[in-house]
């Protein structure tokens, strides 16, 4: 075979290969589309079947053994279960129990099965939210598949299975950031019942670990339980870990209890600009007015994040806005920039222009517009 023949054969092989590839893609797409259509048809049929049962319950009706493993039935069940409550919900539970639907998914959750059916099973168990499956879900909080751990926690939260709180919190220190974030969301479902397990976890671990306790503190803040303020103050005062301190400052800001003000005033003097910046925001969230003197000093901070957050905090209160106007006339260029940005954010620049146009401008208005225009001129 000479060189030219070899080239022709190679081109032909590539051509045939591409053709086969294209054909398999087209066939695959067609099969997939048919599967989706078939799934949708079955889902609608199941919806009708379940609706009939809810409208006129007849416990002698047999839905067939195939429904247990059919994902279309599960979709129909979840759809209808999220639409009704009360005796209709109980009726659905009875149908599910009678046909062994959850037993089928529980079996599929076993570790010998491939990931996809296992994950589908975990979603099914989480969605159906039946207390009798809580022990099984507890077993899978430590599953090797992250998404199954997430679904297990979600299912436990949906049935408000309180023994799960400690088990979920305990995993904060060993989880990947993604799973930990989803666990944080899950714990919110338990509300203030999760506060003390989280506080206890932080107390025990904050000297040995950083990310887990910080996540736990953030969750406490998001739960919004003000009973945790004293504990958070103690943690803020005793910890030397910036991640934990930042989380505590943020949580104290969200909880908004003035009791935290003295501790935060101390962290506003920290050498670490990250703590000062977070503290500026937290102080403004706790007490807009009382924080004004300390936030005004923050306008002259060497770090721009601290200046920015202090200015934003001042802009939350009328008196603070007056101090921002004063800062426009300051000799400190950093303070002027931060103040101008915060004033612009709360619409003060537009308001000043309108007052100038209406002939009712104050000296502060004139100074603000003069500063903005001189800045624009420099940039141009």
């Amino acid at each position: 075979m000479n060189g030219i023949d070899f080239g022709r054969v190679a081109v032909l092989v590539v051509f045939v290969f591409n053709g086969l590839l294209m054909l398999s893609l087209i066939v695959g797409k067609g099969v997939h589309r048919r599967r989706i259509k078939s799934h949708e048809r079955r889902r609608v049929a199941y919806l009708t079947l379940l609706s009939r049962q809810l409208a006129a319950p007849d416990r002698s009706v047999e839905m067939g053994s195939s429904i247990a493993g059919d994902p279309a039935f599960l979709d129909a069940l979840i759809d209808i279960r999220t639409s009704v409550v009360g005796s209709e919900s109980d009726e659905l539970s009875w149908i599910v129990g009678r046909h062994g639907v959850m037993e089928t998914y529980a079996r599929r959750l076993e570790r010998r099965f491939p990931v996809t059916p296992r994950l589908n099973a975990a979603v099914a168990l989480a969605e159906v939210a039946d207390e009798s499956w809580a022990p099984l879900l507890m077993d899978h909080l430590g599953d090797r598949e992250p998404e199954i751990r997430i679904q297990a926690a979600r299912g436990l939260a949906r049935v408000k299975w309180t023994p799960a709180i400690d088990a979920i919190v305990e995993r904060f220190g060993v989880e990947t950031p993604w799973v930990r974030t989803r666990f944080e969301d899950t714990l919110l479902t338990f509300g203030s019942k999760a506060t003390w397990p989280l506080v206890a976890y932080v107390r025990v671990n904050h000297k040995f670990d950083s990310l887990g306790p910080a996540a736990a503190i953030r969750t406490i803040g998001r739960i919004g339980d003000r009973d945790a303020v004293q504990s958070l103050i103690a943690i803020l005062q005793s910890s030397q870990d910036p991640e934990i301190q930042i989380a505590a400052i943020e949580a104290l800001g969200i909880l908004g209890v003035p009791l935290a003000m003295p501790s935060l005033e101390r962290t506003f003097l920290s050498d670490d600009w990250r703590l000062r910046a977070k503290t500026a925001t937290a102080l403004a969230m706790i007490a807009e007015r009382e924080a004004i003197p300390i936030l005004t000093t923050g306008l002259e901070d060497p770090n721009w994040w601290v200046r920015r957050n202090s200015a934003a905090g001042l802009a939350r209160h009328r008196e603070g806005i007056r101090n921002l106007h004063k800062a426009i006339q300051s000799t400190d260029p950093f303070a002027r920039d931060a103040a101008a940005e915060a004033l612009a954010d709360v619409g003060e620049v537009i308001a000043a222009r309108e007052r100038i146009d209406a002939g009712s401008a104050t000296v502060d208005d004139v100074e603000l517009i003069r500063f903005i225009e001189s800045e624009l001129a420099v940039k141009a």
Binding site: L47, T48, V84
Partner: protein
Amino acid sequence: MTDEPARKRILVADDADTITTLLDTALTAGGYQVVVARNGVETYEMGKSGDIDLVILDHLMPGLLGIEVIEKWRSEGVEVPVIVLSGVDDDTTLVSSLEVGAVDFVRKPFRLNELMARIRQRIPSGA
């Protein structure tokens, strides 16, 4: 041979097929005649026809919101009774719905028996 009384006609307006299937099945079993609309515009047009005895209306629908549909009907003199069935769980939606002329408001998820009782109260003769 006796004349069968005309069945009352209920318009179920919801973009979720779960709700329309459930209500269609339950209302038909209860002796009503059911028509379904899947968006706000379709609902508005069907409600204007004059042969609807009651509307079960979702609040959040594509095209027109439930409240907007009621407003348009009322401004054009269409006085068909409307029960709003809404997944939006806030008092503003409830109050606004009643203010524009809905006769009742039911929150999703709902009790089917309770909704059926409210419907029977408005139009008692199913069959």
